[in-house]
Amino acid sequence: MLEIKNLHVKLEEEDKAILKGVNLTVEAGKVHAIMGPNGSGKSTLSYVLSGKDGYEVTDGSATLLGEDLLSMDPEQRAAAGLFLAFQYPVEIPGVGNMTFLRTAVNAQRKARGEEEMSSADFLKLVRQKAKELEIDADMLKRPVNTGFSGGEKKRNEILQMAMLEPKMCILDETDSGLDVDAMKLVAQGVNALRDAGRGFLVITHYQRLLNHIQPDVVHIMSEGRIIKTGGPELALEVEENGYADLKAEVA
């Protein structure tokens, strides 16, 4: 599904290398988790994959279902099936959440040569998905993320994911800022989307989320590299001992 090979990334503005040879493959139907200390490059990886400006790829490649991600515009990546749930969802005052969702759904469909969703179908779907995530009608009417609480923003990201039905979902700290109940809702939302044709990359600091979203593979990222890969037990180890031992192992 997602194949990242020897990815090197530096900041465009300064000579600062952030990713220093990331190798990672997420297969269809699998959930991979990435953990790692603050500043290790997890969000940068998600941004580079989704096409944010300001980063320069100096080496390596990233493909989605065999297609070269790095040469595409962000909107093309989205239409190709990539989705990033942002660590910090952006507030957009003046753009209604509903308008935004419908525009996004139909823009992707159009890019893929599919028919646009009718207003009626869209409304029905969005109401149903919103209900599952306990997002009320008022939140749908309000401007995108504007004035939303931290947890509401994260649930709104999952709603977008549910509506867009991407093939490859990257979740960047979607659990941070969530209360226990909201975490369960979000996990349910993710689990509902788990299927044989879809891959997940879940970035998190806490093992807790992984109790709800069982990962197949756990990676540890440190200083721009994946330094260890293992099963779900790796997350428990980090929870117990922190990153010091792991870092020492590689050093």
Binding site: S50, G51, K52, D53, D73, P74, E75, R77, A78, A79, L84, F86, P89, V90, I92, P93, G94, V95, T99, F100, T103, A104, V105, A107, Q108, A111, P143, Q160, L164
Partner: protein, 429 residues
């Protein structure tokens, strides 16, 4: 003080071809007094402080610069779905054939040329009177010129709650038309009136609207200046607000090589409220100037200015806004905001926000900003699959939303929003 010779010459040249509507005593006196004001002030020049950002040359020229007309076929006329009395002007002259029957419950509508012949008329206390009050402390020569030489106009008096909106449509059919139009509106105590306006008016359009809003009266104004790019427009609204009255005016401008909209508002009664707002967008040689002057001369009045402009490809936006709080105008609440979204490096926004306050118990704030599109928001939209051009338009509309939000009526608000959206979409192709 005598005017410099050059200014005198320019003024003479400007008025030499103009003629006055023959009127009865009151109109004749108002025109005469206005002519004296014009001669004393002279037409504006680039050196005048008030015209630093907008070149008045095309407005001063003895003949109107030609402007191609535009036939719109890809959208229905604006406000068409609204239940209103439509009154049509073609190149600044009233066209009764094309207009609705002007009889309207709660409202009297007369043509200036006819009502002006009467000896006594309510408009005597409005026509040229609010304009004259608005000449100090800043001179507005084009408004005085308008009072002296207006060719047509309506006198509208609301005595109760108007049964329907009054809609003034200004068509532009001649490439060289030079229209001077003057309306007087009086909203009597407790009455309520909404005036809609749209259309380019003429190749060159000088329009004055004087609005007297009596105690506890409500006046609502929504105007759309759009699409006809080559026209030049100089408009003034002079409003005088009585106690507990409500005044609202919103202007949408899309295109236009030269537009200057002045709003001159005076609070004379306590506890009144005035909201003025504008959403403008243009490209290339678009030049758009909002000049606002609000005088608080009463207690506990609220004024609010919200102006937004979207500029690209060298387009210029101007905002000159002043809140003057006179001594004794305590508990004034004044808010002023002007913002420009610059979609490229060539566009420019020139702003001069001013506060002048002579009372001590007031709350006034103002802010003026210009900036580019929010890159974080743009990326967020693109990451959800919205193509860059479309995402930029969404953010552009969202930038304008705060101004559009100032329109109270939801139907009209939606229509203005949709027009602006369509304008952007057409541009995108």
């Amino acid at each position: 003080m005598a005017l410099p010779q050059a200014k005198l010459d320019a003024t003479e040249a400007r008025i030499s071809g103009l003629s006055r509507i023959p009127g009865g005593a009151w109109l004749d006196a108002a025109q005469g007094a206005a002519l004296e004001r014009v001669l004393a002030m002279g037409v504006p020049g680039r050196r005048d402080e008030y015209w630093r950002f907008t070149d008045p040359a095309a407005l001063n020229a003895p003949e109107a610069p030609t402007a191609a007309t535009m036939t719109v076929t890809d959208e229905a006329p604006i406000f068409d779905e609204i239940d209103r009395v439509k009154l049509v002007f073609v190149d600044g002259m009233f066209d009764a054939e094309a207009s609705d029957d002007p009889r309207l419950a709660g409202v009297e509508i007369e043509r200036l040329a006819e009502a002006g012949k009467t000896d006594i008329h309510w408009a005597r206390d409005v026509y040229g009177m609010l304009e004259a009050r608005g000449q100090s402390p800043v001179q507005r020569p084009f408004a005085a010129l308008n009072t002296a030489f207006a060719q047509d106009g309506l006198l509208i008096r609301a005595t109760g709650k108007a049964g329907r909106h009054v809609h003034l449509v200004y068509l532009h059919e001649s490439e060289s038309s030079d229209a001077i139009l003057h309306h007087c509106i009086k909203v009597e105590e407790g009455a309520e009136l909404t005036v809609l306006e749209n259309g380019p008016g003429a190749a060159r359009f000088n329009k004055v609207m004087e609005v007297e809003v009596a105690n506890r009266a409500t006046f609502n104004h929504i105007r759309a200046q759009g699409r006809d790019h080559e026209r030049r427009a100089m408009t003034h609204i002079f409003a005088r607000l009585g106690a507990e009255s409500l005044f609202k005016s919103f202007t949408m401008t899309a295109n236009g090589v030269l537009t200057r909209n002045e709003a001159v508002i005076e609070f004379t009664g306590d506890n009144a409220s005035a909201h003025v707002a504008g959403a403008a967008m243009g490209d290339g040689d678009f030049h758009h100037d909002d000049t606002v002057f609000i005088t608080h001369d009463a207690v506990n009045c609220e004024s609010r200015q919200v102006y937004k402009k979207v500029l690209r490809n060298g387009a210029t936006g101007v905002f000159q806004g002043k809140i003057l709080v006179k001594a004794g105008a305590q508990k004034t609440d004044g808010y002023q905001m002007s913002q420009a979204l610059l979609l490229d490096d060539d566009a420019q926004f020139l702003a001069k926000p001013e506060l002048e306050i002579y009372a001590d118990d007031v709350a006034c704030s103002h802010g003026s900003t210009s900036g580019a599109i929010d890159e974080e928001a743009l990326f967020y939209l693109r990451a959800r699959g919205v193509p860059k051009a479309e995402a930029t338009d969404m953010l552009t509309l969202s930038f304008l939303a705060e101004a559009i939000q100032e329109i109270g009526d939801e139907t009209i608000r939606d229509e203005i929003h949709d027009r602006l959206e369509a304008w952007l979409a057409r541009r995108r192709g």
